[in-house]
Amino acid sequence: MTDRPRNQHIVASGLVAAVGIWVAWLSFTGEPARAFLFPRIISVAFVALALWTFGKALLGKTKVGPGLSRIAIRNILPGVVVMLVYIFWAAPTLGFYTASTIAFFILLTLYDPAPHGEAHTWVKRVLITAGFTAVMYGLFAMLLGVFTPREILF
């Protein structure tokens, strides 16, 4: 195993262990004790297994999971940023349909294998996005009657 996946495993299992310790601390300090009895039992197993995993990662003995390659990080980063901005900011601020349309178009542009220098590929993307928005509106607003936040636009 090269150093990068090993370090990634250490960070990942370290974070899980930290969450486990936090859960255990809250469980054992929470009152009334009866309400935290079940979480306490779980947290003991959680911490034990998390520390075991962290220890194995530190020793470089983690054998599962390929980690993240540099290429994978480079590929997913823009998509994940768009996704998180869409969900945590754009959807509640701009309105569901507006935000979804914009996010859809950006994701399509970012990951579409078709060349960006040709006008017809942009037309195709715009048409696909418009079709997508129409279908989503038809499904959720008209068929299911879900009232989504409209906010600034719709």
């Binding site: 990634q8 079940f38 297994l49 054998k63 599962v64 290429i71 979804s100 997508f132 989504t148």
Partner: protein, 509 residues
């Protein structure tokens, strides 16, 4: 034969229409690489809110059945398994298609899927009431151990690392405790207003299954799908039917293997298909033909992965313990309609339970009939670029999560859990035990608290939970499943190198 009384309900116009929509939609979704049956069913749940419980389950059950079978289309015509359950089908199915026998391979695949599927559902029909009667004897301590068993079996058998599988289960159990304690009303682990009411199962399921897949599609970058659909010539269906029955040994091996594996919680269709393929190859007088486009390979693999569907629901419908991630999603679908499966399901809701099961039986036949017609269309859908697929799944996940309680908090939880799960999966953690922990956590805690109260009044907690034949048997199975998985892990040294891991990941994705 109580199930026969509810057969007519499947054929009411609206129910039958839902069955058709679920079947045809499932076939197309199943053919799409990256859209696993679990994810397809999870994304469909929001569409069942306006339906009653029976109708919702008919739609979800049909989608479950046909996505498993639909995965064979892209496996045969594109050499890309639609779902992990179809990996074994690729071995001979695609080679047959390359030899100009694509239509025959598809016909064999759907006919053997239907035969295996019908056998599996018949097992579900005849085993479920018997086990449900038996489950009436279960008290709180037994139900507590059963819930723990559900998490540990999937945690240890469904993961590549026993420790990480069990750790995923613990994370799920912990997530289930977030919110207000049922007995005393105490706030627990409320670190953000979005989780004040606890974690709703449906958005969590959507996030845990859909978002990692979306990010996996991002990871492929601007990659052009280079797989070409192999065109298929018309082929007489009679020849395929005769071929299936001529290869009766492969069909029976696939059907029996799939049914048996389906009954074991945590062991999915992927394993069923591969084990059946391997067994059929070992026992065949034409061993050397396997891998070169041999019909027995397709028949064994496809009959197995659909035979697994029915039995995989037995633990869910009798003991309320979902035996697979898809069963866990179906449990979510039941819970939103206020139905809690278990020993009294067939007494309290016989119409819902039997109509659902009967619809799965009819669905197998519809799947076979329509599968042959929509295979060409499904193969085209399978070529939809990753960019479109990722954006569509993401939007469906957002709208679907929001529509559960019209709450942005649910959407935030869905996104946070899903993004976290993607990164955890890259480091060997698994979504299935986490989901099982999340779903079974409340069952385990409620029965633990109830059992503790009984124990305080009668004996000690130790005596109540650790004595008695049934308790000891369940504890024994928990320990045995973990021990078996540890032994297998030590023996096989799975994922010995990063290359192995990458290779296996690619095969499964």
């Amino acid at each position: 034969m109580e199930f026969l009384m509810y057969f007519g309900d499947v054929f009411s116009p609206f129910n039958f229409m839902l069955l058709l929509i679920g079947t045809i939609g499932g076939l197309i979704l199943g053919a799409t690489p990256g859209l696993s049956p679990t994810m397809a069913v999870a994304l469909l749940i929001p569409f069942t809110f306006k339906l009653d419980a029976t109708q919702g389950l008919i739609l979800l059950g049909a989608a479950y059945t046909s996505t498993v079978a639909g995965g064979a289309v892209s496996a045969i015509l594109l050499k890309i398994p639609g779902a992990p359950a179809n990996i074994a089908t690729t071995l001979d199915g695609h080679t047959m298609a390359k030899k100009g026998q694509g239509a025959l391979a598809l016909q064999l695949s759907f006919i053997s899927s239907a035969i295996g599927g019908v056998f599996g559902v018949l097992l579900l029909i005849f085993l479920t009431p018997v086990l449900a009667q038996w489950a009436l004897a279960f008290g709180p301590s037994h139900l507590f151990w059963l819930a723990i068993l559900g998490v540990t079996v999937i945690g240890s058998l469904d993961s590549n690392s026993v420790v990480k599988g069990l750790l995923s289960g613990c994370i799920g159990l912990w997530l289930a405790t977030i919110g207000f304690d049922d007995v005393m009303g105490t706030q627990r682990f409320i670190f953000h207003s979005s989780v004040a009411g606890g974690i709703n199962i449906i958005p969590a399921l959507i996030g845990l299954f859909a978002i990692p897949q979306v990010i996996t599609m991002f990871a492929k970058g601007r990659h052009q799908t280079d797989a070409e659909v192999i065109s298929v010539e018309k082929s007489p269906i009679g020849g395929a039917i005769r071929e299936v029955f001529r290869r009766f040994r492969a069909l029976s091996i696939g059907t029996m293997t799939g049914s048996f594996i389906g009954l074991i919680p945590g062991v999915g269709g992927q394993i069923a298909g591969l084990v059946a393929y391997d067994q059929a190859r070992k026992t065949s007088p034409e061993q050397k033909k396997f891998g070169t486009g041999h019909s027995e390979g397709v028949i064994a693999a496809e009959s197995a992965n659909n035979a697994m569907v029915g039995p995989s629901l037995v633990p869910l419908l009798t003991l309320s313990i979902p035996g697979s991630p898809t069963a866990a999603v179906l449990l979510g679908g039941l819970l939103i309609h206020g139905i809690f499966p278990g020993s009294d399901l067939f007494e309290n809701y016989p119409d819902v339970a039997w109509t659902f099961i009967n619809s799965m039986l009819i669905g197998q036949i519809l799947m076979c009939v329509f599968g042959l017609y929509v295979a060409g269309l499904a193969a085209r859908v399978a070529q939809v670029p990753n960019a479109v697929m990722a954006a569509v799944v993401l939007a469906l996940a957002v709208f679907g999560s929001y529509s559960v309680q019209t709450s942005m908090g649910d959407v935030f939880i869905m996104a946070a859990l899903g993004t976290g799960m993607y990164f955890l999966e890259r480091f060997g953690f698994s979504a299935a035990p986490l989901v099982l922990g999340l779903i079974l956590g409340p069952i385990a805690e409620a029965n633990f608290v109830q059992g503790a109260m009984i124990a305080t009044a009668t004996s000690s907690i130790g005596t109540y939970f650790f004595t008695g034949l049934l308790n000891l048997t369940l504890i024994g199975i928990v320990v045995a499943s973990i021990a078996y998985s540890v032994w297998m892990e030590l023996r096989m040294r799975r994922y010995t190198t990063k290359e192995d891991a990458v290779e296996k990941e690619e095969a499964l994705s």
